[in-house]
Structures are given as structure tokens and as C-alpha cells.
Symmetry: C2
Subunit: 415 residues, 2 copies
Amino acid sequence: MPTAPLADLGRRAQAAARLLATTTTGARDAALLAAADLLVAATPEILAANAMDVARATRADALPTVVDRLRLDAGRVEAMAAGLRQVAGLSDPVGEVVAGWTRPNGLRITKVRVPLGVVGIIYENRPNVTSDAFGLCLKSGNAAFLRGSSGAVTSNMAIAAVLRQGMAKAGLPEDGLLLVEDTSRESAVEFMRLRGLIDVLIPRGGRSLIDAILESATVPYVIDGDGNCHVYVDEHADLGVARDIVVNAKTQRPSVCNAAESLVVHQSVAAAFLPEVARALDGVELVGDAASRALAPSIAEAQEADFDTEFLDLKMSVAVVGDLDAAIEWVNAHGSGHTEAIVTRDLAAADRFTREVDAAAVVVNASTRFVDGERFGFGAEIGISTQKLHARGPMGLRQLTTEKYVVRGDGHIVV
Amino acid sequence: MPTAPLADLGRRAQAAARLLATTTTGARDAALLAAADLLVAATPEILAANAMDVARATRADALPTVVDRLRLDAGRVEAMAAGLRQVAGLSDPVGEVVAGWTRPNGLRITKVRVPLGVVGIIYENRPNVTSDAFGLCLKSGNAAFLRGSSGAVTSNMAIAAVLRQGMAKAGLPEDGLLLVEDTSRESAVEFMRLRGLIDVLIPRGGRSLIDAILESATVPYVIDGDGNCHVYVDEHADLGVARDIVVNAKTQRPSVCNAAESLVVHQSVAAAFLPEVARALDGVELVGDAASRALAPSIAEAQEADFDTEFLDLKMSVAVVGDLDAAIEWVNAHGSGHTEAIVTRDLAAADRFTREVDAAAVVVNASTRFVDGERFGFGAEIGISTQKLHARGPMGLRQLTTEKYVVRGDGHIVV
């Protein structure tokens, strides 16, 4: 497959980003709606391209879950189009005046929200990310520079071609979406070193991708990291509420990053709570410390590493702690900075937990599963940041922007 | 000089940061004031330590400007103390509720400003940075983890010891300030790879330090980069205003990053403006393109690299452009994303320049020299970011914080 050198693609993306930064919300929404219509109209071509990826995966004996994630049907294409239409309906963060003031000398300063420029995204097998990422980038005035996996490249190329037609139809630069067709490992490393051409890189993948970025990236990035989320059941918890929250946080959708992976229980309620929650978590493999196993025999022995593992499965680690201090210390030591929950009726315990636990989101008396862009009301989500710089927690359209100071004077000079 | 392993220092800094994150503004202000008093009282010891650094630099034939930056006297120590007192008087960004809303299901979400944790700073020869950085980090609830240059290490150790006493006197953890005493290059690289122990790294140094960080750092960082700042004199500029702004931006303090390095002039005013501004810039070495040299013979021939160089000196590049489009293109091609100014009376030109130029700050009819934390009214500044993530432009106390979501429910589960 013949492709342009990566840096050339990056320069084209930058040129498109410059143009997109001056377009109106109306023009960008028109492109989103045009792209949505074209996606639906191109369903046969997209499914034909996807069938080639699926056949390759099947020949290579890929896991059924991998093939399922890869496979498109008419309903999934319609869902991609619906996603673009939904994003078109969201309010545009670009142009928001974040702050403004006048200095004593009359100099007027405003801080205005502007697009980041070129958003690079490295992602895995789901072809719908091609469309979803494009939608969020375009709405926020950015060019999308996408690098999917080799397993989905035929699908991604077909989808990207249609989305680019949508841009052209609305009079916007087609290069507002560029897809890297070379899916080699070398190309991925080259991609993350396009400093000056990629304004932010958002990796959506596992540990090895994150490690490669930490080692090799020279472009700025936002890490969408692991969620080793805890639910701490306090001495003063309503145990019925605690049981429902733990079951929901663990089992409602175990494969996502805001699912709970670890249960921490205050010793004074452990005897009453653990046997009951173990029954309620029927079908979940529980591994715990000695104190928890003494109270609930269905809990197996945990390895030390279990407490630091994001299982993303029907498995949960369990620990008993002596007091709130120990609970906070445990969560800070083992958590990954994503989402941590406490169940308690005690105001002081809730206040201390929310203040002293260091995470993107701290939850009181609710399931960890609420921490995502949709459930926060952002309308859409590009990921959940576990880093502290730029964006922390669910990232919506606003997190795809930066700010620019505009300073207006009347011949002012520094004296 | 015996020092603890760097990772041990990092763990101590993290422990101190956890404690500092829960302290009140009052307690931190008390520590700042105590440290200020102790600094003044310890002036003899600090000057004695500094004399050793100065003697070493003199023996090594360091440049007079280097020795001057390094040398302390009673007035400079008093100025460090005054800086701490000033920071104590600023308002505390920590605890600010940045946003808050209630979801349709009754879940209450707030976004609260919290300290970053451990702020790592790598800096060069000025010993006052030890005190200034400590003050800004402490005020914003962070632990300061400092790594100065080898040339100033004796001074820095003396200053840090006094500041740590101030912490202890106010009942705060001394490890809220930790100074790396091993100033080898290997130690700097190890420092920038303390992922999980340093929450943000702010380098204050030249190109080689930035390059080392891009290549080696695994901790998050904010780049305080070059300022290749332009002043564009538009077709519709008031030429007297333009002359004053160019002279001020270039000569008022040429060694700083917000000084102008490049003059761009619209062709229709170049004949009237260039000879006059060249006279007004008497003492400034001007290097320009052919069109500018034809109009003002005192302008020497520029090399292509001159247009991309931050001179930090009484030198300026000059270019003539055909129209506003060419001016914007020129500035975006040669600028470093710091500060760019336009002088014009034309509203449409001002609007286009501010919208289409991609920089942390865009200035209309004022000197580029206004773009810094003090002149913006932030009260203090840790640097000026030329990156787009987290902080863009002058960084004050608020840029030393991050945000945390606090989600409160009443037994809410996801259905």
C-alpha cells in the first residue's frame, strides 16, 4: 500500500488545522452531518472493506472478542453516523472567553478557547473510533491525524475516505482527517516523534503502547491510563447501599476502566459485610488478604500483585483495613489515579476521603461507573485522563482545546 | 558530598506533598513568612556559602554575566525574602470550585482545584530561584523538588536549609522542599525519569536541557521555551506608535523571552517606516531581507537562520511582506508560539491577526514585553509556557494546580 512519508502527512494536517481554526461552528456541523449521511450511503462499501479485515483476523485465529470488536454491520455503521449527528448537536467550546480583565494601565487581556491544532490518535481494533475521533476533533476545530491498528486498516481506510468526502462536500479541507496507512511498529514510533506537527497525541491502547510513548514520544500527549478503581466501605456505611454499589461497580460492565477492581472494608463492618457481598458477587472471582478470607471462605488467597492489577474481568481483590487512615493510604498506594469511591454516612469520613485521596475522580455513595464523559453530561468522550496535566478525568470537547491570550492596548509600552 | 538516592528523595517529596495538600492557606503563609525572616537572619551564612560558589566560578574564568547572576549580597537576600512575603499575600488557588452541576439523576459533581503534588524544577545559575520556586510551590500546596546547577550548589544548599527551617518552624514537613545535591548530568536524566514521584517537571534552561527532556523524560513536563517574538507593522499602523512599540519591545530588556526579535513590515509602509525605525533603533544590529535593505541601508544582510533565532541581545531581523496574509504566514512559520504583536488601526486586520496567529499570546498595539505573569497581574510567575497543554503563556500559582472531580450520590448505581 503506497503511502506518503509520515512528516508530509503531518504537514498536510497542520495546514488543514490552520484552516479549520478559522471556520465557523455552522460549517463544521454541516461537515459532520454530510459525513454522517455519506457513511450510511456507503454502508455496502464499508462492509465489504470490513469483511476483508474480518477474514484476515479469522484466518489468523484471532480471539472471538477481537473479531467481534472488529466486525461491522449496517447497525454499527448507522451508530457511527448517529454519533456524528450527536456531536454536531453539542455546543462548540471554541471561541469561549474563559477570562478577561483590564490592567491598571488600561491594557485589556482576554483568554480565549482555541483548537489545539492537530490531534494525533493511536488506537486499536475498533473501526468506529475512526469516525468517533474524527467527529470530536472536527467539532472542536482540530484536524484528526489517526493511526489505527493493522487489523482494521482496510475498514479504517474505507471509513476515512467517506468522512473526507463529507469534509469536501461542506467546503472544508479534506486533510482535516488523515489516516496513517502504514501500521508498522516503526511508523508508530515515528508518529509519536512528529514534534511540531502533532499538537497532542492521545493514545488509546494498553500498557505497551503507553510505555512506548513514555520512552519515545517527543510530541505532547495525554495518557488515558489504567483504572485500578477501589470501593472503600467505611465503618459508618449503610451496608445495603454498599453492597449494591460494589456489585454495580464490579459487574455492570467489568471490561471498562471505571469498573471497580478492588474492595476495601473497614474492620468493624467486615464480619457483617464480607459474607453478604461475597454472596451478592456470585460469579465474581474474589481474591483477598488473610483478614478477608477468615470472614468469607469463598475469597481465595490474593497475590501481592493482584492489588495493583486492573482485571477488566469478573475478578476483584479484597482487603480489610483498620481505620480510615489505613484505607486512604491503601487507596493512594494501590490506585492508578482514575476513580476511587467511599461508601459512608459519616460526613467527616467523606470529607477526608475526598480531600486526601489523589485521583481524577473521588466518589461518595455512588458507583465508580458514573465517571465517564457521557454520564458526566459532556455529550461525548475521547477518553479518561489519568494524568494531572491539561486534562484530568473524562475528556470531552473542551479538553481538545487550548487557550490563547489576546492583549489589546493603545500604543502601550513597558516603562 | 553524600546524598540520598534520587528516588528516595522523590518518595520523601511525595510524602510531604500528601501532607501539604491538606494544610490550610494560613499554615502555608505562616511558613512563607517564617522562611522570609529566617533568610534575612541567615544572610551571613548564605553570603559565605555564596562566596565559595563565586570563588569557584572566578577561578574557572566564568563570564562576568555568569558571575553576576550567581553573586548574592544582602540586598539580593532581602529581595528573596520580600518575594516570599509577596507570595504569602497572594490569593490561594487551592480549593477553588472550578465548576459544579447536578445530573438529572441527582448525582452532584464538582470540579475542585488541588495541588499537583511534587513539582520538579531544573534550573541554572541563579540561587534566588531556589527561594522563588519554593515560595510558589508552597503557596499552591505543592512540594518543591529542586535541582539547581553545579555552579550554585553551595549557595542553593545554604538557602534550602534555611527555607526548610521555616517549614519546620510553622509545623509543616521540611521535605516540602528537597534539593538535589548531586548536580551531575546523569543525575539530571535520572531526575526526569522519576515517573510517579514527580508530578510535573518545569525546566528553566536552554535548548540542550529542553532537548534532553524531550528525549529522556518520562515524567510530565511543561516547556518554558524560546520566544522568537515578532512585531508586525501593518499597512494601517500609526507609524509613530509602531516605532515606539518596536523600540520598546526590542530594547527595553533585550535578554528576556518576551523581547521582540523580529520586525515584519507591510510593503506599503516600509519606505516610510524602515528608515525611521532604523534610526530609532540606534545601537541595535539589524539584519534583513533584500526589500528591507533597499529601503534602509543600515540593515545588514540576514542569513536564513536569523529569522528563526532568539537573539536575546540588541539584534533584530527585519522582513517586508506583501500583505496581511503573508505577514500571518511569516509569523506562524518563524514564531516559536510565545508572543506575537500587530500594530494597526484597522479592526479587520487586528481581528484576523489575533485569530489566525498561533501563539500563547497575541498582542494588538502594545509591546510584547507586557506578556509576563507580573504584568498580567498574576503577582508571581514560575515561567512562560510555549506549549499548548495544561498551561499556555505566563504561569502563576493556578498553573501549579490540577483539578479533581468530587462526585456525590445517595446510593446511585448505573442502570
